[in-house]
């Protein structure tokens, strides 16, 4: 009851309509089984995490290593299962841990882009096959796959001819853009970017960030951007959620959180970051 009241309030505040994504009460515990040499160990990756994403907004999930931000991304996209909690996208229930509902990743309408340009594309596959893989799994025909793949490539600033080439023929920034094309060709409503520019050279990061802004503007996607880089948050994201040790410690509009952080952890994080 109170949850839906909250949602209504935030909608009215920003006038955005139904939420692209709503997650509440997410918890994930990793158990390392005991053996002859080790006791059993439990790591609490996420503890009662909630967040919401408005349509076409870019939400940052900020945290250091061990904060649970990567686990959160993997749970939302469907690579991991939450132990408790619920996730909804618009009117559809994606996850309801208590009722054991976990919609398979391919049916969630959520795409993902990864951190490492050297590991996110199969080196033995042509770009057309890499981008078209999801469409093939969904049953699309060859001709249609080609057309959609070419369209996705041009949206990220690459050319149709590049469909015939292999990943090693591209630079890191270009490979990240190919990864973006692969995700958007399936027309997701939400895109999750897990440290998408952290492994790129600084002079190239901006290109990829601008591509993300482009596709947000053109396709109206919502983006969840997982990062530890405050400059990127400042540039790209509308709102921020700060995670520490699996819990949300602060959330709000980017400007407010960065300029006037309330929580001591956020304050410490921001003061450690050197910005010019």
């Amino acid at each position: 009851m109170s949850l839906s009241a909250e949602i209504v309030r935030s909608n009215q505040a920003h006038g955005a309509g139904p939420l692209a994504l709503e997650a509440s009460g997410l918890t994930k515990v990793f158990v390392h089984h005991g053996s002859l040499f080790r006791k059993e160990a439990r790591t609490i990756a996420l503890s009662d995490v909630s967040l919401d994403v408005k349509p076409s907004e870019i939400l940052a999930i900020v945290g250091e290593s061990g904060s649970g931000k990567t686990t959160l991304g993997r749970i939302v996209v469907g690579l991991e299962q939450a132990d408790t909690g619920r996730i909804r996208a618009g009117d559809t229930v994606l996850v309801d841990a208590e009722r054991r509902i976990h919609v398979p990743a391919a049916k969630r309408g959520i795409g993902m882009i990864f951190q490492d340009p050297n590991s996110s594309l199969n080196p033995r596959m042509k770009i057309s096959d890499i981008i078209g893989e999801g469409l093939r799994l969904a049953g699309f025909g060859r001709q249609e796959i080609r057309e959609r793949a070419a369209a996705a490539l041009s949206l990220v600033g690459l050319r149709k001819e590049d469909l015939e080439r292999y990943p090693h023929q591209f630079s890191g920034g270009q490979r990240q853009r190919i990864g973006i094309a692969r995700a958007i060709v399936l027309e997701p409503r939400i895109l999750i970017a897990d440290e998408a520019v952290s492994s790129l050279d600084v002079s190239v990061q901006m290109q990829v960030l601008n591509v993300i802004l482009d596709i947000r503007d053109k396709l109206g996607l919502a983006v969840i951007f997982i990062t530890h880089n405050i400059g990127v948050v400042d540039y790209l994201c509308d709102r921020v959620v700060v995670l520490s040790n699996g819990k949300v410690v602060e959330r709000g509009a980017t400007r407010e959180v960065i300029d006037t952080p309330q929580h001591p952890y956020t304050q410490r994080l921001l003061s450690a970051v050197t910005r010019l």
Binding site: S65, D201, V204, M206, N229, Y235, T274, R275, L276
Partner: protein
């Protein structure tokens, strides 16, 4: 002009070539710089810039069979480019030492902290057990461990990343070197830990008059701590100057472009321009200025041949035909 005894590290027309069975690949192109005693010099570059190769070449970590050195690379008066292996070995740990990016792989997992630092000490010094223990405690206190006694008895896997890096620094300083080479020591660490490590380095630099040669890809990070900054791109030292000058009044278009493409808040939803194009791959270097294809200020002359050094001031210089100052 500084006295030659003040210069701890000097590279003159240094070029490095990787010997790759048949061909030699040039990875560093005619680089010259000098680091004075007690100075914090940051060498900043992106991938393919050659910065890691320079760091490894100073300590001669890559044998001559795999790395060809042209020009001179002098540490404490010894040219490591020409010197014999046993001469260089005596320098390592004593005149110069190094800390690396991955502390987990640099520490021996089956030795305690105390044993590892002791090993570093006994390579160059002959101390009694009591003296050694005192020295180890002092070193651990210097790197800001609140309980040196406890840490000394621990194994690397019991320590966090930041703590392991501090142990590495303690080991590196065990024999009071004049030069500490730091190869991206904080890249794998969280922002809050990064800052504490750099604070430690800076304080050690000041108290012990150690020169720090810091390799990084992060201009913003080194800005707070470096006295001088060198900017490397495509194997060439594009700009070299006092930190304040390089950051606030850059002379080379690349430095300027690099600074302006660091993401910051968008005013009125405007876009920030990145730098068009890609960093030149090491196996694909061309003649002339390697930044020219991406440079807003480049002209025809930039592609003709190697660019000479244009002195901007007493403390700043840039390899550019059209410097910004």
């Amino acid at each position: 002009m500084s006295n030659s005894s003040d210069i701890v590290l000097e590279a003159k027309n240094l070029s490095l070539f990787l010997r790759l069975g048949g061909k030699d690949l040039k990875v560093v192109d005619n680089v010259s710089f000098r680091v004075a005693r007690g100075e914090f010099f940051a060498l900043v570059g992106e991938s393919g810039s050659g910065k890691t190769m320079i760091a490894r070449a100073i300590m001669r970590l890559i044998p001559p069979s795999r790395l060809r050195i042209e020009g001179s690379l002098t540490v404490a008066g010894v040219d490591v480019a020409q010197a014999k292996e046993d001469v260089v070995r005596r320098l390592r740990g004593k005149a110069m030492s190094m800390i690396f990016q991955e502390p987990m792989t640099s520490l021996n997992p089956i030795m305690t902290v105390e044993e590892q630092i002791a090993e570093a000490i006994s390579t160059h010094q002959n101390l009694s057990t009591a003296e050694r223990r005192a020295k180890i405690t002092q070193l651990l206190t210097d790197v800001r461990f609140a309980d040196p006694g406890k840490v000394a008895g621990q194994y690397p896997h019991e320590l966090s990343g930041g703590m392991r890096q501090r142990v590495m620094i303690a080991m590196a300083l065990a024999n009071d070197p004049a030069l500490l080479i730091a190869d991206e020591p904080t890249t794998a660490l969280d922002a809050t830990i990064q800052q504490s490590i750099l604070d430690i380095l800076r304080s050690l630099q000041e108290r012990k008059n150690v020169s720090v040669f810091f390799i990084s890809h992060d201009l913003a990070l080194v800005n707070r701590y470096a006295n001088r900054i060198g900017v490397l791109y495509g194997g060439v030292l594009m700009e070299d100057g006092a930190a304040d000058d390089v950051i606030r009044r850059p002379a080379h278009p690349y430095t300027d472009a690099l600074l302006s493409c660091m993401p910051r808040a968008r005013l009125f939803g405007q876009r920030q321009a990145g730098i068009e194009g890609n960093v030149p791959r090491v196996d694909n270097w061309f003649e002339g200025c390697r930044f020219a294809p991406r440079c807003a200020k480049s002209g025809e002359k930039c592609s003709l041949g190697p660019i000479g050094v244009a002195p901007i001031s007493q403390t700043q210089s840039a390899r550019c035909l059209y410097p910004l100052r």
